[in-house]
């Protein structure tokens, strides 16, 4: 194949009490590719990405990132490694302005009197934010308003810009086009392409198959916690994918028939 995988999930299992949410799941993600993670509600997609982003700790299996095995116990652990997650609900503070969100939790301060007085360096954060947005060709009329006044797509762009600014090595996007209008959906897909151009791999969770086919290189379908197939987008089609999603097709069954 290509180079070494950036992310490598091996035999990941996650149990909640008696329920096995993810069962022996493996996946490799390579630089600059967009991998779609598909499946019905409750198939285990979210649990997989929560394990990768440090929200859950796996019950069994290993996650390697850039060649080394990682154990995240908190989301911030994953973020410091460069794994950025963009959630459906955006994880932005709507009452803060754009730079406030881009720098949330990593604010830049000025120091006076030997660090006794440390006001925020708003000017610096604003100009950095402007730059980050312009490298993504995103234009937002005013950055210094609470982002609740922005459109859904603009907010999504802010979340992506934040990840890019902090040099994300892997981007996980959980239904990024949910609740967006059609033009805004298009814009977000464009941003995903930009990430690919920059070599940042993306794991995309989506229910919208046309979108998946438009933007992904590879897709992985989960059903009841297991990976039932993994295909290049060019080698499959919507009908077949739906068959996998509802459990009518299952690659693992063909190789290892049920007892």
């Amino acid at each position: 194949m290509q180079d070494d995988p950036i992310l490598s999930i091996r035999n990941l299992t996650k149990k909640f009490g008696g329920l096995t949410a993810v069962d022996d799941f493996s996946l490799d993600v390579f630089p600059g590719e967009v991998v779609a993670l598909l499946g019905d509600n409750g198939a285990g997609k979210s649990t997989v990405i929560k394990c990768v982003s440090g929200v859950h700790t796996p019950s069994a299996g290993a996650i390697s990132f850039e060649g080394e095995v990682v154990h995240f116990s908190r989301p911030i652990d994953a973020r410091t490694k460069g794994i950025e997650t963009i959630y459906q609900d955006l994880a932005l503070a709507n009452n803060l302005d754009v730079p406030g969100n881009v720098f949330l939790g990593r604010e830049v301060e000025k120091r006076y009197l030997g660090g006794l007085i440390r006001p925020l360096d708003n000017k610096f954060m604003l100009s950095e934010t402007q730059q980050a947005l312009s490298t993504l060709h995103v234009e937002i009329p005013s950055l210094q308003v609470p982002i609740e006044t922005l459109s859904g797509g603009q907010r999504q762009a802010v979340a992506i810009a934040r990840a890019v600014y902090w040099e994300a090595r892997l981007m996980i996007m959980d239904e990024p086009t949910n609740n967006l209008g059609v033009p805004e959906q298009k814009k977000v897909l464009e941003l995903i392409n930009k990430l690919r151009e920059r070599g940042v791999p993306v794991i995309l969770i989506s229910h919208t198959l046309p979108e998946v086919f438009a933007v992904s290189d590879r897709l992985v379908v989960m059903h009841r916690g297991r990976k039932v197939t993994e295909k290049k987008v060019s080698q499959t089609n919507s009908e077949e994918v739906v068959q996998y999603m509802v459990g009518a097709l299952d690659d693992t069954r063909q190789t290892a028939p049920a007892e």
């Binding site: 911030i76 709507n94 949330l104």
Partner: protein, 382 residues
């Protein structure tokens, strides 16, 4: 740029600037600062009506009256200060009233014992201050830990804590006030930076109290008493902290979207603990200052001030849902309450009316806040 046209089109999709007419902008900015406008109108009404009602010799705008108002808002403002931080973060602190009483008692005890043990008065006062801040800060720490780590709702925790602290204050003061403080304490609580003597032989005296007596003493006003000075300093630092520092930014972020703050790596639990410590500590300073002012520790001094301070915060435009508001608003809210109270007294209105009026203003404030959002939406979707 290499790609001319598609990029421009994509940009255009995002850029949909909302245009507002000038009248809309004026309406919006007036409702934005309505509390300030309301305060100005209130002062104007009292300035005009008080001489008419109470005789032309009585005036609202005097040095003495302004100082009375400042002294009156000192505790309300200090309680409202920490409360503003807490409410912006999406919490509430119902314990500040009794924490103030508690601080008043423990600082009086500490000051008295330190002085009796032979410490010089200024040092004993410092011991009293330290005891007030550390003691109440510890109460705030308990509040914060139970709220942040054990996930008990702030309303319950701080309500329960207020009973605990109330009991402690009453026990330690033996159900009464702590007296027997050195005489000099009175000066710390009542003397001021500047003195002004009206009329004949008068003038300004800076820092040193003029040696006068009798009729002349009655013509003397104290401008910026020490408690007011301390409050002004605390307020100024707090405004800076809330508006311009990481601490303030995190406070807003937690109130706006706690989950986002957690995911962004803001140490949310620790921050919440700090907020309740701050709230209790400013209440502690209020208790300490009142102890100086009355030369006694009182186990009941803060209780009636709790609701006034929350009223001041709400009148000042802090949303009870968290995420928005400012300390300048709280300062204006406190001023509105103090001006109302003082003005009504000067109009010879029976003092119980002030409760009715303040209550109405609180409800009005929330109504205006709600309609502000409605009007904003209306204008923006037009």
């Amino acid at each position: 740029m290499a790609q001319p046209d598609p990029e421009a089109a994509a940009k255009a999709e995002f850029a949909a600037p909302k245009t507002r007419s000038t009248t809309d902008q004026i309406i919006l900015s007036i409702i934005q600062v309505w509390a300030g406008v309301f305060l100005a109108i209130l002062i104007l009404v009292f300035v005009i009506s008080i001489p008419l009602v109470s005789g032309s010799s009585v005036s609202f705008l005097t040095v003495r009256n302004s100082q009375n108002i400042l002294v009156a808002i000192t505790p309300i403002l200090l309680l409202g200060l920490g409360q503003t931080f807490v409410i912006i973060s999406g919490g509430i602190d119902l314990s500040v009233g009794w924490v103030m009483s508690f601080a008043s008692v423990i600082s009086a005890l500490a000051l008295r014992e330190a002085y009796n043990a032979g410490l010089a008065l200024p040092l004993a006062v410092v011991v009293g201050f330290g005891t007030a801040v550390i003691g109440s800060g510890f109460v705030g720490f308990l509040n914060g830990v139970i709220i942040a780590k054990l996930k008990v709702p702030p309303f319950i925790v701080t309500l329960g804590m207020s009973f605990i602290v109330r009991g402690a204050a009453l026990l330690m003061s033996e159900n009464t006030t702590v007296i027997g403080l050195p005489r000099g304490v009175r000066d710390y609580g009542n003397e001021s930076l500047l003195y002004f003597i009206r009329g004949e032989g008068g003038g300004f005296y800076f820092f040193t109290k003029p040696e006068i007596s009798g009729e002349m003493l009655r013509r003397m006003d104290r401008i910026i008493s020490y408690p007011v000075l301390v409050t002004v300093i605390v307020v100024a630092i707090s405004i800076f902290v809330l508006r311009r520092t990481k601490f303030g930014r995190h406070t807003y972020a937690i109130g706006g979207n706690r989950e986002a703050a957690v995911r962004a790596g803001v140490p949310v639990d620790r921050h919440i603990i700090k907020l309740y410590m701050l709230s209790a500590a400013t209440a502690g300073i209020a208790g300490f200052l009142s102890m100086l002012r009355f030369t006694a520790g009182s186990a009941v001094i803060g209780d009636p001030l709790l609701l006034s301070s929350i009223a001041a915060v709400i009148i000042g435009g802090v949303s009870l849902f968290g995420g928005s508001g400012s300390l300048v608003g709280t300062v204006i809210g406190s001023l509105i309450i103090a001006v109302l109270t003082t003005g009504l007294v000067m109009l010879n209105v029976q003092s119980f009316w002030q409760f009715i009026v303040v209550g109405a203003v609180v409800i009005l404030a929330v109504l205006i806040d709600q309609s502000r959002d409605m009007i904003k939406n209306k204008i923006e979707t037009r």
